[in-house]
């Protein structure tokens, strides 16, 4: 630090010391009081605001706390119920809930009569309990006796309900079985009807084949006869040869056709035989077949 700086500092210190002697002015007492009152008022207002806030919070807290347990219990019950219902629907899908009228409708008559009998017995039991209390060890005027009677009645009622439920279930099962049987029979009838219609078709086919085959065989015979009659002397040998060749071709063709018809007829007859076991082909029909086919037919019977 230079001398100049030191001198400057010394001078500044002098002025500071001199100024320290001037520090005498103070705010007035009234001004002090005003400011202090303001500060006090602010503290009081803050405290009251906090108290009000605390009261509001405590009231809210209290009112909330009052409902805390009931709400939590209700929420728990709801949660468990939802889960139970959901799981029940997943694992017991086939359960059928029947209305009382449906139960009555499905119940067999024996069950209905049994229930009626039991309800009558129940009524009799109540009336007997009232009329002959000594027999049952009860007293009408005794409150305990009435409770015992009602307990017995309730037990009987529960028993009857259980029987009713069992009978209802049995009725449902029987109905299901009946439905199944009906369906099966219906299917059989339908299949039989289909089989019969198919058999009819085969029969028609056989008849048609029979007619065609008859015609063809007749044509064959005629042609063969014509061939024998129309054979001429050698002068007409060339014509005869030509004609013979033509007829041979025709014969061959006819024979082929007859053979095919015979095969088809034989197949249809076998198919019909399988469907109608007791069917017997007429001799007329059998005569249309070839010898081998006739032999086979007779062997298969």
């Amino acid at each position: 630090m230079t001398e100049v700086d030191k001198n400057q500092q010394a001078e500044q210190q002098k002025i500071s010391d001199l100024y320290a002697t001037l520090k005498q002015e103070q705010p007035t007492a009234e001004l002090d009081q005003r400011i202090l009152d303001l500060a006090k008022q602010q503290v009081a207002s803050r405290e009251s605001a906090l108290k009000t806030k605390a009261q509001i919070l405590s009231v809210d807290k209290r009112s909330w706390r009052r409902w805390q347990w009931p709400l939590s219990i209700a929420a728990s019950i709801l949660f468990v119920s939802v889960i139970f219902i959901d799981q029940t629907s997943k694992f017991m899908p086939g359960s059928v809930i029947l209305a009382p009228q449906e139960i009555n409708e499905l119940m067999p008559d024996s069950a209905k009569s049994s229930i009626a009998r039991d309800s009558n017995n129940n009524a009799n039991l109540n009336s007997e309990a009232k009329e002959q209390p000594e027999v049952l060890g009860l007293s009408i005027n005794d409150g305990a006796g009435d409770e015992l009677t009602s307990t017995v009645v309730e037990d009987k009622h529960a028993q009857l309900q259980g029987e009713q439920t069992a009978l209802a279930k049995q009725a449902v099962r029987e109905k299901q079985q009946l439905t199944e049987r009906t369906l099966v029979e219906k299917q059989k009838r339908e299949s039989t009807a289909v089989g019969e219609s198919q058999t009819q078709l085969v029969l028609l086919e056989i008849e048609t084949l029979q007619q065609r085959l008859s015609i063809k065989q007749a044509q064959l015979v005629i042609l063969q006869q014509q061939e024998g009659v129309k054979l001429r002397p050698d002068s007409l040998r060339e014509n005869n040869i030509a004609r013979f060749s033509l007829n041979t071709l025709k014969l061959k063709e006819l024979k082929t056709q007859v053979s095919e018809l015979q095969d088809t007829l034989f197949a249809q007859m076998n198919a019909y035989k399988q469907q109608v076991l007791d069917w017997q082909a007429s001799d007329e029909l059998l005569s249309l077949l070839s010898r081998e086919q006739q032999q086979l037919w007779l062997n298969s019977r």
């Binding site: 002098k14 303001l38 500060a39």
Partner: protein, 207 residues
Amino acid sequence: MRMLPINNEKEQEQETDETLMQRYALGDFAAFEQLYQRHKGGLYRYFLRQLGNHALAEDLFQDIWSKVISQAPKYQIKAKFSTWLYTLAQHKLIDHIRHIKVVERVIEAPSSESKESEPSWQSQGVNELTPHLQLEKSHASAALKTCIQGLPLVQKDCFLLKEEAGLSVDVIAQILGANYEACKSRLRYAYENLRQCISHKIGQLTL
């Protein structure tokens, strides 16, 4: 009795000023009372020296403390309490001066330091001092008071913040929104002007 160095004493006070303020924020009125007693004189004189009018000084003084009271719940220890207090005071003063147009000089940046450094007492003649003051050796104090009145606003600000609030140069710079060197030079000029002023009024300054 040797007085404690001002800085250490101030540091001790300022260490607890923040605690007192926090306690008041929590509702401790006594803490505020203590805090008020510590700082009321300096703040009052700060306004008084600046404005030269008791009534005006009281108005601004009350405004500042009202603000302190109202902002107590939001008070956070980001700076020292005294720094915060005199920052409020300085801003209030500037707003007031701008509003009533008390001074003719415009508050400018340090570039206009040479202009500002010209104390107003220089325009005053020695003969303007009252004869009573001229006669007393201890009139130095009174002379000083008068000289302070004649300082330029920025120099007066720096001087009073240092002398009344006991703030350091860097804190003063922070309050005034100026840099450290500018504040340092303003203070130097302030003391120099005061010395010259006092010497001018009562002769060589001897204490």
